[in-house]
Symmetry: D2
Subunit: 394 residues, 4 copies
Amino acid sequence: MAVANLSISSLTQRYLSVRAYTEKLCETLETEDFVVSSMPDVSPTKWHLAHTSWFFETFVLRQRVPGYEPLNPRYAFLFNSYYVQAGERHCRAQRGLVTRPTVEQVFEYRRYVDEQMLKLLETIDDDYAITLGLNHEQQHQELLVTDIKHVLWTNPLRPAYDPRRAEYSSATPLMREWVDVPEGVYRIGDDTGGFVFDNERPAHRVFVEPFRIGAGLVTNRDYLKFIEDGGYRRPELWLAAGWAIVQGESRRAPLYWEKNEGEWQEFTFAGMTPLDPDSPVSHVSYYEADAYARWAGHRLPTEAEWEIAARTLPDLPRLFGDRWQWTQSAYVAYPGYTPPAGAIGEYNGKWMSDQWVLRGSSIATPPGHSRVTYRNFFPSDARWQFTGIRLASK
Amino acid sequence: MAVANLSISSLTQRYLSVRAYTEKLCETLETEDFVVSSMPDVSPTKWHLAHTSWFFETFVLRQRVPGYEPLNPRYAFLFNSYYVQAGERHCRAQRGLVTRPTVEQVFEYRRYVDEQMLKLLETIDDDYAITLGLNHEQQHQELLVTDIKHVLWTNPLRPAYDPRRAEYSSATPLMREWVDVPEGVYRIGDDTGGFVFDNERPAHRVFVEPFRIGAGLVTNRDYLKFIEDGGYRRPELWLAAGWAIVQGESRRAPLYWEKNEGEWQEFTFAGMTPLDPDSPVSHVSYYEADAYARWAGHRLPTEAEWEIAARTLPDLPRLFGDRWQWTQSAYVAYPGYTPPAGAIGEYNGKWMSDQWVLRGSSIATPPGHSRVTYRNFFPSDARWQFTGIRLASK
Amino acid sequence: MAVANLSISSLTQRYLSVRAYTEKLCETLETEDFVVSSMPDVSPTKWHLAHTSWFFETFVLRQRVPGYEPLNPRYAFLFNSYYVQAGERHCRAQRGLVTRPTVEQVFEYRRYVDEQMLKLLETIDDDYAITLGLNHEQQHQELLVTDIKHVLWTNPLRPAYDPRRAEYSSATPLMREWVDVPEGVYRIGDDTGGFVFDNERPAHRVFVEPFRIGAGLVTNRDYLKFIEDGGYRRPELWLAAGWAIVQGESRRAPLYWEKNEGEWQEFTFAGMTPLDPDSPVSHVSYYEADAYARWAGHRLPTEAEWEIAARTLPDLPRLFGDRWQWTQSAYVAYPGYTPPAGAIGEYNGKWMSDQWVLRGSSIATPPGHSRVTYRNFFPSDARWQFTGIRLASK
Amino acid sequence: MAVANLSISSLTQRYLSVRAYTEKLCETLETEDFVVSSMPDVSPTKWHLAHTSWFFETFVLRQRVPGYEPLNPRYAFLFNSYYVQAGERHCRAQRGLVTRPTVEQVFEYRRYVDEQMLKLLETIDDDYAITLGLNHEQQHQELLVTDIKHVLWTNPLRPAYDPRRAEYSSATPLMREWVDVPEGVYRIGDDTGGFVFDNERPAHRVFVEPFRIGAGLVTNRDYLKFIEDGGYRRPELWLAAGWAIVQGESRRAPLYWEKNEGEWQEFTFAGMTPLDPDSPVSHVSYYEADAYARWAGHRLPTEAEWEIAARTLPDLPRLFGDRWQWTQSAYVAYPGYTPPAGAIGEYNGKWMSDQWVLRGSSIATPPGHSRVTYRNFFPSDARWQFTGIRLASK
């Protein structure tokens, strides 16, 4: 798919680059790795590869290309995720049971969609649905990586995804502990006019009382102190629903941590490795983030506080590229929010219950997919993403 | 327990009146009715009677009366609800399986605690824990009523709780549809210094964009139009989690509604009755309230909007006494929130995840237990409370 | 209901006596005790009282009394257990949630059915359906006792059902350990022509190889040796399905046994008591009986072996009146078995899968309800009946 | 692995032939097909390939070859099925989540074990454990085929396993409907001294009353009449547990049957095909077999009846090679049964509860693996094997 045409549009360039990046993420995988779903949240790698192509087929090619012929009409059923208005779809719980199309056939499907898209892209310069499709594929790039990490961890042999891949950005030193932000009416949400998801709009005003925010992320070293201080044995530190899980599952540490012969290890892209104390803590649930904050005598920021801090203090270390940061804001619509019409309106709006907003981005977020208004969201007990902790304080 | 002592303190008077009101709510019940739990959310009547007494015993008598002897030391295990720091407790799921102590013995337990409390009340005028205990008992008065309604409905014979008891206040006419509230920084939360729950504090400032709020509650007549317009068959109106329930349980109406031979009926305090079109709709989940609002082209208010409207427009009809009103605000801590130390700090704080705030009060709320800062909270699918809908609009 | 009429028929006498015995079993209960179902296998006491009356109403009065008017036509829905051909019925899982009719109303229902039955009995001397109804009620007498034992045990206060009631017959001494039965073709099953359940017929021939059968029942003393020898920790002693339960539920002893401060106790009709070593072991599942037998180097008898032994050695100790004895025979039809036509044919035939035959009778079996051909049946993990162990060997 | 050594032992020949046959069954599969488990009963193809090798490694090589070095010591954990005495093992429910070792690595594992086995086979002529291992592998050959059929059916695309493969033997005509077998004491079970599974021994005597047995198997044509006569809507035909499933899952036909636009189709090795009326009915549960027999006015044979008929009438059509035939005999030990000592004793004995014996063999049974004493066993609701119906009658 290498292309060296000087006259190629920037949208085409972006299309080629995003699509190629997805496939690059699969380079270290065996055919068998593409097939499995290790828990309900996790989709098989080959499903991600196909679904992102289905997205372009459904929301771009079928709309724009008269008489468009799909490669296989049954793929629409197999690779629709949750767009009720886009037709019937395969049950999510069974995604990991479908062995055909094979991995090779899924790559053929990608090539087929790419050919059609490239033809179409010759005729247009800019397009909301295509840009959405690229951002959508970038979101699945992150899911692909976090999902395959979980799949491999489920295997008692604990194979590595990619030993060359780091789990945090090493550069930024921690300079100081807290920064103060004064009270006031601030504006949050997007008003740039550029591409953002619908849920980042409209921009609107919020009042915040004065607050402090952590100048870095909580590290494994910090979190170990919480564990060693009985963090997982003291109900007074926990939300009731979190405590029920800690008790019911005998939880004692973040996901992927294991104590072997007295030594803490964690499962990383490089397989099982000794716990790295300097790494920002990862794979903690909202319950764990909240309990840690209470134990530390602080709290989690709201999403408004996070965005205000990020806007006013853009040099705040580790805002982006290390860990998604839990906020204590539930994921709901901004005042005046309106989703687009049709199936595409299901993208964000219908998930606005029982989830928390996470801000920033993570080590698994693809390049060019972070911004200050970005609203990620997961339920209270999600742990398989690279989720971490930034503290706030009154 | 009739008392006619002129010198009796107002706290004692209040104690006597609250405790008597609880027992009055049981007047129409048979002994058998006190025993059963019809679903995990529902506690048996006799458990409510005992647990509210245990609360005084644990948080007042054991703290204040030297050498206090409980009537039965095992009751502390049976009647602790969820206060982990107050000791081991009986499994909630088994509350409805405990036939002893009998109803008569539970009333004896109430009398025993009352005697001790009255003795103690001779010596004190004011006390946070006692006032909390009375407010706690008032909350259980509402639960007792909504729980027994569910228990009786579970019986195929559908016996009535109390045919004389209305399900809405008839008085208030609907005067106009919407009222406008201007943008601005407002103060919400309690700063009266009087008794409120910890979660109503601290008072703090919020900014709201200009909004409109409904001058009344959505009625059964209104809600029927939503049903007849295919409300329960159109996925685009629903949050994803709500739609999954609608599909999975084939839901077609609020809890307690039934269509018999083409006629809508509802189960009320008077048993099965024809649906009353003038009644504010009740027993709807957050999902249903949200879907209705979307269908109507509007939205639910935030809790800040609700409180600001209630403060600036205290004559707004049906703020209190008919239906709890779902807001689109997740139940989280106010900035600067601090729960009290010890077991009593578990009262509100540990529930701050995966619940929505409801404002106002309902037909089942006991007299004297409503206020403009009150924050009730239930999860997205709770329907057995008297929950209704007040709309807001951009 | 005492009757002293010399001319009363023996069927009437039997009717009066069986019906009175059921009510006598409830003498020590509180009203609250009648309402609850502590697990899916357990029915509320008041349900047993009503269902046995419904049986006479449905299979006798409605068939025989022209224009029979039931006391309450809805009771047919509430108190049908599982007779699909007798009409719709209430969901078994919800039996314990129905508070009305009250206990007093259920007793009224019994009196109403009794009056109608006594009138009918003046006109007839013998009747299969009435005799079946009386045997049916006797089966429910045993269930009533074992069910209420479970209900009371579920209560952390562990109230006693009836301290005067023994859990085994003290009389019979153990004379010798084994008796030998020679090989041969034997006849088993009923050919007396008297009342038996359909599943005891037809009589037919079986061949048995020579075998030995235990001359008594395994005692608590014996069973403790199995426990102390690691019986519950040695997978090689267990059927796979039984071992999965032992592991999954961390089982260490029969139902109702508890080790408190180093001492074994058991829950009996008299509440928690020290374990009685001379008592035949009780409340063991098929899995436990089978594992014990394997540990002891023996096996469980087949039902044919049991019946042949009981017929040829009628003095074999503890055949009846102490513990139901697990056999290694699955509950299936005898060759040539034909159930009666209609709903009454559902009595036994439709349960012939995934159950084991138990032979003999137990301390909870009412007087006059035991015989050598009786086939009781329960699934592999049932433990709440008085089930024990008689060994067989090669 | 083709070998043409004239001096090769017959055990070696048999080893090579059985091992090769397993791999031949995989010829039509894609790599992805080897990975998935479509329901708890189904194991991935690659697990079957590895587990059968592990069996030789564990019960032959580790016992016989001093200093035996396994290819990968972790495979013992991954590929032990249920032999508790052979060490810890991977959770069965997670078999389908393990992507490594890859399919290629599993074939390497087979080659490694084969090399070691062939070396060992040069030194021995006969061996119980090796013969057991070969019979074990043959059982897994049948499971491999029935499992992959289920995996492929789970895929909405319904890919074919092997269109050239028939689902029944065409040859045998049905000659007459019933054959009569006289009463008598017969001997069943194995006394040949040759290899059989432990559960086929000891031979022993049984008495059977005179009976008739069907001279062929029930066909799809026959079974359709049952369906069209309301077989799946008439509770009086069903065992209670079967009826609960029919109701709960809205069952209307055997597994793999589908009615599309008024036409019955079935999923076969060739994918979805029109229902073949001449095919023996397949993929019916015990409940369905039993209900069909009741509807037809007959019953299922006992295993003794089946074996006696097969011994006395060896020309009875379709005894072997078409469908396993449900019997109404529960799977329990023969009198005098003794399993071998150690882990290998877990092979058959620990499954003797809650299963029915099936006799004969099926289209999926490998050549040379059928005999008159063979006792297959499955629980009441198993349908993914090639299970069919032979009737018996009083």
